[in-house]
Symmetry: C2
Subunit: 425 residues, 2 copies
């Protein structure tokens, strides 16, 4: 089904040494996928002119499109232009447009036009350039062995703009309209991937083949993707998307139009709509929920106060939890977490509250309350709810899972959801 | 200088689709690097039996060692064993040791021995297996085209144990003793990579060639690596390590013996040694410092209470900051952050405190106090210090940077450091 055979060539010692993890190729792949193009093969090599030249020659003989990433910069270990020149037999020469770009770049930054910058203007004779709005090195484009070669910069922010604004539009012209993909993505929470697959299989045995359904874990959320070729009748897609949305119900956090959002961001959006304030009382999550909320710009509109009450003494002192309650039921108990929630609501004069008390481990578990036992209370001045969760995994996962559940419970409260979520599976 | 030519072959559609970022190959590379082995080339391909077979044949003709990752599992898209069988001409046959392992694995988990599990026992006739203590699929080892091929599982936790406990010891035997590397790593904070390089160049123009010096950014910390061949005189290394440590002084957080640690963990270690308690009063970091502390197991010994005071009203209410002080100097000011620190110390009865108030952006900046202006106060009941920092970057980076600086300032207070750190460059 693939319209084009595409391969990637990633260059850089740091990619092979393990000093950095290659996220560039995933970014390129995701951008191409939106056009319906799949990458067939990827080769990663160190900064070695001989290897690079040989690899470009080999791959260009096998594929329609070769995207090379890295090696366009000003230092001696940047040798992509040189390798292309050697492979294609087009010697390096000063490229007028590249020179113009580098001059403008240096002028804008008040930096001198030195030999390092000028190196970036020496490109294989007769190649085209690809604009780089974020850096000094332009991209290179030329055809060799009947293969279109695109050379892109290794700096992620430069690559991203060049791929999305320059290369994708060029490639889009090569795809027949009926091969183009349209992707709709939903962010969901409170249902696991395998439960979701089963649910869909059971409800929609007649799911149409023309609509591909995919999942992608973006913890703590799950992304559900609905992909169709643009030749697929639009009505079909609209109809099945509505069915899917009605099945997923309040599990849906967001339908991605421009960018994905976090649970905390969705909670803040709902709070702003209702003109309400949230407060937090955290024991085992230790400030994580407050931190997730305040990571979001504009959170000060809906969040004034967070309490991290890690000891029993401080739970009593700051949140007025009766010492007797803790003594009788323990710090990890329904009575304590309810009292924490009430105390925080009163202290902060907030409208809604999340309180968490649990055992994140690895120490502190008992047979009655093993590691992973987490009480969460959530609610408002009318009613505070509570539930005990039994979470698995390492300390940090238990903390992150508890924080996500707390935020989702408040989200469901804010939308008056009547559904039950299954947070564990 | 490389003793062995090593290449990687990574398999899996999800690696090429961009749905996951490949961290396995970085893990393998780091493990091999500790033996002085560098990876020369890496090829990533989708789950396609023809491509896989062809790639194994090609690479095995070029290299001493080929490590294949992925495709050992029970499903139909796991086809590494089949590809090896096709390439090597050794047909798949039930491997007695693999069968024994899978049986024991199923028994331990009370799961049935089904055809999917049994697929993992069909291996190329005559190959050796590599133990997998974390999963049902064993690794495969055999020689083809004079190349040693190691097949490893794609699940990161299984791979990690198999690489470190099984494959590295095998490879170590192949490295001549004089080629082996010894790496000493220091974690430092409060000095940037380029300043550090300049400092070392200036102080040690006679740095010996036999000791390779490298840096690795593990934000917020910087890792300084000192690598020597084990044939290098031990005395030389010991002497220069001491010189380096004396130059870096209190910038050193930790000399890595078993595992790297975080700034928060080092602060907690020092607090435990002194039997002291810390508290936090956070505005623009919004609970991040508390969260970094409580991420560490055992933090409850040294941390009881954290205050997230995001609004002016709450700064006054919870931390007894005089409203007049905020009115006169602003929430982001020396007077306010000092009052926050004093209030938190008194409220929590703690020994030391970190307080932060700043403008994390993107909104809220003014000409006088642009985005990135952050006041930090730190100290104890004897004296509270304060300083204004001007940080750059996006909201989340400003928050993370401010949290790291706050933790480091307390670390330096706890070790009575007289040095000055340079946190910005």
């Amino acid at each position: 089904m693939n319209a084009l055979n595409v391969q990637l060539l990633m260059t850089g010692n740091e990619l092979l040494s393990g000093d950095i993890v290659d996220s560039n190729s995933a970014m390129i792949a995701q951008a191409l996928k939106a056009l319906g193009i799949e990458i067939k093969r990827k080769v990663t090599i160190s900064d070695d002119i001989e290897l690079l030249t040989q690899e470009i020659e080999n791959i260009s003989q096998q594929t329609d499109i070769l995207i090379i990433n890295g090696g366009l910069g000003p230092t001696v270990d940047d040798m992509t232009a040189q390798a292309i020149a050697l492979t294609s037999g087009k010697p390096l020469a000063e490229h007028p447009q590249a020179l113009k770009h580098v001059k403008a770049w240096c002028k804008k930054r008040n930096s001198a036009l030195n030999s390092a910058s000028l190196k970036q203007t020496l490109l294989p004779d007769g190649c085209s350039i690809i604009a780089n709005s974020r850096g000094s090195a332009v991209g290179i484009m030329l055809t060799h062995n009947n293969c279109e070669i695109y050379c892109t910069p290794g700096v992620p922010k430069e690559l991203k703009v060049m791929i999305n604004e320059e290369i994708i539009p060029l490639l889009a012209q090569k795809i027949p309209p009926k091969m183009k993909l349209e992707v709709t993505r939903l962010q969901v929470y409170g249902i696991g991937e395998s439960s979701l697959q089963t649910l869909i299989d059971n409800h929609f045995p007649d799911w149409p083949d023309e609509l591909e359904l995919g999942f992608r874990a973006t913890l703590p959320l799950l992304e559900v993707k609905l992909t169709s070729r643009s030749s697929t009748a639009k009505a079909l897609k609209t109809r099945w998307l509505e069915k899917l949305k009605s099945l997923l119900g309040d599990h849906i956090i967001n339908e991605i139009s421009s960018r994905p959002i976090s649970l905390a961001e969705q909670v803040l959006i709902l709070l702003r709509q209702k003109n309400q304030q949230i407060t937090t009382a955290e024991s085992c999550t230790g400030g994580l929920i407050a931190s997730l909320l305040t990571e979001i710009s504009g959170s000060s509109q809906s969040f004034e106060a967070g309490f991290v009450t890690y000891s029993n003494r401080i739970k009593s002192k700051l949140l007025a939890v009766e010492p007797d309650v803790i003594e009788q039921h323990g710090a990890v108990s329904e009575a304590t977490v309810l009292a924490m929630a009430q105390g925080a609501l009163a202290k902060a004069h907030a409208d809604v509250v999340i309180a968490v008390s649990g055992i994140a481990g690895p120490a502190g578990g008992t047979p009655d309350k093993p590691v992973g036992t987490v009480w969460i209370a959530w609610g408002n001045s009318e009613k505070i709810y509570s539930h005990c969760f039994h979470l698995n995994g390492e300390r940090i996962y238990i903390q992150q899972h508890a924080a996500a559940i707390g935020l989702d419970l408040i989200r469901r409260l804010l939308i008056n959801s009547k559904e039950k979520a299954n947070y564990i599976k």
